[in-house]
């Protein structure tokens, strides 16, 4: 990817330039292999996991592990493991598809993704040849289960403040680790723990710790709000003896491992929650059709239709973002020679290019699932509050997604901070664009050349304006606060909110434009989804931008900004009562989420 000949979209550049619909990857572009992988995963989850969901939630002894071994036989644990270590080494789209279909299995999805993601990938990307040979075949087959521990009782988001120490023995043969790690998924039955500790109390480093090493134990199970079927414990390191060759990566470079692995975790989390959202919508549709009140199925009521439509729109938009990003990552990784000794480094660099998009997906999709499960409980009414029905569990299981893999607050800060940092480094022209825009906007109204045409002409214009608003607000904020901007978390988060809406609007529009909106015969359902989402998203963009502008300007300056905002916010409002009823009717007719 260093070669200038290979072309790829720079991460975050969607904000500053237009993308052609033909350039993006969408679920409609899956190949036969993708469909088969999705099907085999779905069959496994439907037949082997979902029937046991109650026993899994009760943490029935040995059940989750035996199911992991079973899924290992099909190869689903080794998608990201290179072929030379017994894995499949498939593309990220396949990996996301598996995550999506496993995603509907609640607690077990967390067991699965902790093992295949944060539990296995650190060794894939940072392990020595010996470490890979020793651990990857076992992890890829499910013979061994892995767990990952970054947090500590006193350090979560501030991971580098960890207090666990590692000291090299005088003979240089082993490290002695002391400390307590927190929230280890799979800890109860894991054979391996990827652990972080500070060598000599300062050099943050990673280690592969095995269950059987002296001084390694786990605390009792945490009693959690949701995902009760996943094992979560503390890892207790009491003079734990870890062979020196189990140091993972370089001394003092543990943060590189931690942050890179989180990037991967974030886009997979996005795929996983979309799978869960689709399942919950299907349940809600089926229930709303069966439940009668006032002599008719509640699915016929406008307020229920509105909920179903909103749930489906957000899920469809989330899915569009997830696979657009998968396509970007797969495209950039195509140029990585898998046999090269630099392969891991280049792969991570490729994924890191889209760190902004990964964070966007993490935040938006986890919030989508929370919205979906909340509204599903509401549709079920009193029954939604009963453990007899599936939505109560879905509601509890969803909540963690806004917390782990970097809280949504941390990710919101990351999105705008990364955009600004890349601009300062000259990788993205955000600040130049802001300057340019300021001149244009203040001088005269938009000249009108290059106006979008076609079925989505007005939506494309709205998105272009939302991009201008993002550029204007971030430029204004950067100018006002300079290097103190990182202290203004509320402003940064709102900038990110606008950026996220832009990525979401554009992703769904391009997807539909590519597949369902040929001008001679547009598919009304999908066109409605785009129009409705863009209409609603613009209203949110307006709120966020007013929040930012009122915080950074006052008096005449503020009035000037608001005049510009008003001009950029000019669009015909859509009758979303009609479009949402139509979208809900499509779900009701199909009896499930099938978009």
């Amino acid at each position: 990817m260093e070669t200038s000949s290979s072309t790829y979209m720079k991460g975050g550049s969607f904000l500053l330039q237009e993308t052609d619909a033909t350039e993006i990857f969408t679920p409609e572009d899956f190949n036969e292999q993708h469909h088969m992988i999705a099907q085999t995963t779905d069959d496994f989850i439907e037949k082997e996991i979902l029937p046991h969901i109650h026993e899994i939630d009760e943490q029935q002894e040995g059940l989750s592990v035996s199911l992991m071994k079973k899924v290992g036989k099909i190869g689903l644990l080794s998608i990201d493991v290179p072929e030379e270590y017994g894995g499949m080494g498939l593309d990220k789209t396949s990996s996301m598809l598996v995550a999506e279909h496993v995603g509907k299995s609640g607690s077990w999805a967390v067991t699965f993704s902790a093992h295949t993601g944060i539990g296995t990938l650190p060794i894939v990307y940072f392990g020595t040849e010996e470490q890979k040979k020793k651990y990857l075949p076992k992890l890829g087959s499910g013979e061994w289960i892995s767990s990952y521990s970054l947090s500590e009782p006193g350090s979560g988001s501030d991971a580098l403040a960890a207090r666990t120490t590692a000291t090299l023995s005088a003979d240089g043969k082993f490290y002695t680790l002391n400390g307590t790690k927190m929230w280890l998924t799979n800890a109860g039955f894991a054979d391996v723990y990827i652990t972080f500790a500070k060598i000599d109390g300062e050099k943050f480093s990673a280690f592969i710790v095995e269950k059987g090493f002296p001084g390694v134990s786990t605390a009792p199970e945490e009693k959690k709000l949701g995902i009760k079927g996943s094992s979560t414990r503390q890892l207790l390191l009491d003079n734990a003896k870890v062979p020196a060759e189990n140091l993972l990566g370089e001394i003092g470079r543990g943060h590189i491992i931690a942050f890179n692995i989180l990037n991967v975790g974030r886009f997979k989390l996005g795929a996983s929650v979309i799978g869960a959202a689709k399942k919950t919508i299907t349940e809600a549709v089926v229930y709303a059709k069966a439940r009668k009140q006032f002599n008719q199925p509640i699915a016929q009521f406008g307020l229920i239709k509105q909920k179903l439509a909103d749930m489906a729109i957000l899920t469809y938009v989330g899915e569009s973002m997830v696979y657009r990003t998968a396509g970007l990552i797969d495209h950039i990784l195509e140029s990585v020679d898998k046999k090269s000794p630099e392969a891991s480094k280049k792969t991570l660099k490729g994924i890191e290019e889209y760190a902004i998009e990964c964070s966007i997906i993490k935040v938006m999709c986890s919030e989508t699932l929370d919205f979906v499960v909340d509204e599903a409980v509401q549709i079920y009414g009193g029954y939604g509050y009963s453990e007899e029905y599936p939505v109560a569990r879905a509601y509890r299981d969803s909540r963690i997604n806004r917390i782990f893999e970097g809280t949504n607050e941390i990710n919101r800060l990351l999105i705008s901070v990364m955009l600004l940092k890349r601009s300062m480094k000259g990788e993205l022209g955000l600040l130049t664009a802001a300057q340019q825009l300021a001149n244009d906007l203040l001088s005269m109204p938009s000249s009108g050349n290059g106006e979008p045409e076609g079925i989505f002409a007005s939506e494309q214009k709205m998105i272009a304006n939302a991009k201008k608003i993002a550029v204007m607000t971030s430029g204004a904020a950067a100018q006002k606060y300079m290097d103190k901007l990182t202290d203004e978390q509320e402003v940064l988060a709102h900038i990110s909110d606008i950026v996220m809406e832009v990525y979401a609007m554009e992703s769904v529009l391009l997807r539909v434009k590519k597949h369902y909106a040929s001008d001679d015969k547009p598919n009304e359902l999908y066109v409605n989804i785009v129009r409705t989402f863009v209409n609603d998203a613009m209203a949110r963009v307006e709120i966020y931008s007013r929040g930012i502008l009122s915080a950074i300007a006052e008096g005449d300056m503020l009035r000037t900004y608001l005049t510009v905002l008003k001009r950029l916010m000019k669009y015909e409002p859509l009758n979303t009562v009609i479009t949402k009823r139509a979208i809900a009717d499509a779900l009701i007719e199909k009896d499930r989420y099938d978009l």
Partner: protein
């Protein structure tokens, strides 16, 4: 051993089907298709038979290009070769069986597996017809199968119990639920399937002996009616059952 398994490509059980405009066939638009679940048992048994005796498993299907999806899945489960008997016409069970029997003969199968029935038209005839056409013994609704030295011991379901029958190879075995637990196509299987061939054969047209005249969905069930809550309602119930429902 030369093992042959026939599979059908049927609408997904979760798909809502509609009757097409001609009133004789379903409208395939928007319908997902899948490997017929009973045929999946047949594929699994064919693979187990190969694992025991070595040899090859050929999977064949009659239909259009879309059947390749089902053939590809069978290959991903582990079949060695696939054959698409290409035919876009509408056939009754007899005409289907004729085409399959021709291919089975040409291939020289030593054992042929079928699923009990296709879950679309539920004819449950093709396996037996093929056996008759080839002059081979057939055992239907098989839930357990043992083959040793060319002898077959098969357990089949009958009303209220099981029946054990003996026969010899070559034979036709028709699978019932319970025979085995079909494997999931593994990722490796899926990747390997891409490299396995699907041979296409054009087959001769034949006339069907049975013609579909009309296809329709059952009438929607009417709302239940409560006539009364005590014995006094009995007379009215009898009257309604006799005069309206006309069942007594």
């Amino acid at each position: 051993m030369k093992i042959l398994v026939f599979v059908n490509h049927v609408p997904d059980t979760e798909t809502k089907v509609k009757v097409g405009a001609d009133g004789k066939l379903i409208d395939p638009t928007g319908v997902n298709f899948m490997l017929n679940p009973y045929d999946e048992l047949a594929v699994e048994e064919a693979l187990r038979t190969r694992e025991k005796f070595t040899g090859e498993v050929v999977v064949a299907s009659l239909g259009g290009d879309s059947n390749k999806e089902t053939l590809r899945k069978s290959l991903a489960m582990g079949c060695d070769k696939a054959v698409l008997l290409k035919d876009a016409s509408v056939r009754d069970s007899f005409a289907v069986a004729g085409a399959l029997a021709d291919y089975a003969k040409e291939y020289g199968a030593e054992i042929i597996f079928f699923g009990k029935q296709s879950i679309d038209y539920d004819g449950a005839q093709v396996g037996g017809l093929v056996a008759e056409m080839l002059g081979l013994p057939s055992v239907s609704v098989v839930v357990k199968l043992e083959i040793k030295d060319g002898n077959i011991v098969a357990e089949r379901e009958i009303e209220g119990g099981h029946e054990i029958v003996h026969t010899k190879l070559p034979a036709v075995i028709i699978a019932q639920k319970g025979l085995n637990d079909p494997r999931y196509p593994s990722l490796k299987g899926i990747m390997d399937a891409k490299r396995k061939p699907i041979e296409e054969k054009t087959i001769a047209a034949v006339e069907s002996r049975v013609e579909v005249v009309e296809m329709r969905k059952p009438a929607a069930k009417a709302q239940g009616k409560i006539i009364g809550t005590d014995a006094s309602a009995a007379a009215e119930l009898v009257r309604l059952l006799h005069e309206e429902a006309k069942v007594i």
